[in-house]
């Protein structure tokens, strides 16, 4: 492993101490699991789990023109963002291809926080700087900040134990600052699991304290520290896309079925023309969720997708769903075959096994 694969979050020592299995993830070394993916997954679905998301990038843009500038770079509409609110959005290249998917928060009238994928942080920052044109003050604060995702139906109980029973927590997609033992904790009601949950951001040197306080206070709620393994199964059950797998510069948000987060009414943003065209005339391929029809090996990225003897696509994400105990995945499939209910075959080690295109999400709360 090169040094490049060894970036550590401020919680690295805590993960090792808890006996996590550490793996390279892009440039980072991250916990893939502690007690086990199944156990961690179920903890998030039934109680609460905590994930280290300190590797994610945090960029800030400030200034009187910052909002208008971001509106010409990102696909969703910044003008709809009240102070203290966030939205899911895309950063596209001129071809409409996805550089990154991210959440942008308006943290003050003229101040924005962009929470981006770890592996794209440098690229996003360089892209934004290239298009900056002196219209905002842009900073990459990633190294100075840590983050935790706390997810699961018991998250509110846990947060109240942490910041006080009277504390009013942010509503869905909102972000709020809390004083916590002398430090500023930004808490956003967002997540990547399909459960109620928050993402909390704080100065990196406080990471171990916040992490350990969350685990201690969460103990009687059945909390588990959770790794990238459970993060992946949880998000895939919800059909949330993963950048680098389901999203890439070769695909645009319309193909990915995420046009909802693209505001084509905006007169101008990078990639707009390509997306307007894609929306009007359709795309050659569509990202679809599919479920294996019988018990068997789970689907994996890069497996070929067939229909009636013809290769029609490729799997981008796949796993055995811990909640459903079935193979699930997502694939780019030729649009003619991309309807819900269409029968597909997934080629697994030379065998073509039956699958069916489903509606999002796979997992619905009981």
């Amino acid at each position: 492993m090169s040094d490049a694969a060894q970036k550590k979050t401020p919680l690295y020592d805590e993960h090792v101490r808890l006996g996590a299995k550490m793996i390279p993830f892009g440039d980072w070394i991250m916990p893939v699991q502690y007690s086990g993916i199944m156990d961690e997954h179920q903890a998030v679905r039934k109680n609460v789990g905590v994930f280290d998301i300190s590797h994610m990038g945090q960029l800030t843009a400030t200034g009187p023109q910052a909002g208008a500038w971001l509106n010409e770079i990102l696909t969703n509409n910044i003008d709809k963002l009240e102070v203290g609110t966030g939205q899911y959005t895309f950063l596209l290249n001129e071809r409409g291809g996805i550089i990154d998917d991210l959440i942008v928060y308006r943290t003050a009238p003229e101040e924005f926080l962009l929470v981006v994928n770890a592996s794209r942080t440098e690229e996003d920052f360089a892209w934004l700087r290239k298009h900056l044109d002196n219209k905002a003050e842009l900073q990459n604060r990633s190294a100075d900040y840590g983050g935790l995702a706390i997810q699961g139906p018991r998250v509110i109980e846990l947060l109240q134990a942490l910041v006080g029973q009277e504390a009013e927590l942010p509503a869905r997609n909102q972000i709020k600052e809390f004083d916590y033992d002398g430090l500023k904790l930004s808490i956003a009601r967002t997540g990547y699991t399909g459960e109620d949950g928050v993402e909390a951001f704080f100065p990196a040197d406080a990471a171990a304290k916040v992490w350990n306080d969350v685990l201690t206070k969460g103990k009687e709620l059945g909390i588990r520290p959770c790794g990238l393994g459970a993060r992946d199964t949880l998000r895939l059950e919800m059909c949330y896309p993963l950048n680098g797998s389901d999203l890439s510069p070769e695909h645009n948000p319309i193909e990915a079925g995420l046009g909802f987060f693209v505001d084509l009414k905006k007169p101008k943003f990078i990639g707009r023309e390509v997306l307007a065209q894609a929306k009007e005339s359709g795309t050659a391929n569509r990202l679809v969720p599919f479920r294996m029809k019988s018990k068997g090996p789970p689907p994996r990225p890069h497996y070929a997708v067939w229909r009636e003897g013809e290769k029609v696509g490729e799997v981008t994400s796949g796993t055995l769903s811990p909640s459903l105990n079935e193979g699930i995945g997502m694939a780019y499939v030729a649009s003619a075959h991309a309807k819900t209910g269409s029968e597909l075959e997934i080629e697994i080690r030379g065998q073509r096994l039956p699958a069916i295109i489903e509606k999002k999400p796979f997992y619905k709360k009981p």
Partner: protein, 125 residues
């Protein structure tokens, strides 16, 4: 990590129990801990010819598919059908109920080329 003394081992983390002319094969405690929750096992068919170090089965965890290799040359005489319904036996009892297949060895002397428990313990640190 459990490494029973009465078994032979491979570098690719299979264990081998010699039963006369046959070799019972599974994956080690260390291997199952690395793979984590096993969710599917692709078993070899009885009668299949196995080459030493040839891929013969697949063990899939939530995260990934891993090839399993035949430790010695032989013919598959039995596969563990219990794994079809309960692949997690590999996690819960890797050296017992979690066995994967039994080979009739072409040459029982071949096991001498495998690692003993001490050598395997040294290999996994």
């Amino acid at each position: 990590m459990n490494v029973p003394d009465d078994l032979f081992y491979t570098e690719s983390h299979e264990w081998i129990r010699v039963e006369g002319e046959n070799a019972r094969v599974g994956i080690t405690d260390h291997a199952q801990a690395e793979l984590t929750d096993v969710v599917y096992v692709e078993l070899p068919k009885a009668g299949a010819k196995a080459e030493a170090k040839g891929q013969i089965a697949v063990v899939e965890s939530v995260k990934a598919a891993s090839d399993i290799y035949a430790p010695v040359a032989g013919t598959v005489v039995e596969a563990n059908k219990a794994l079809e319904g309960n692949p997690a036996l590999i996690n819960t009892d890797p050296f017992g109920e979690g066995w994967i297949f039994v080979l009739k060895m072409d040459s029982p002397d071949d096991v001498k080329q495998l690692k003993d428990a001490a050598a395997y313990r040294a290999a996994i640190g």
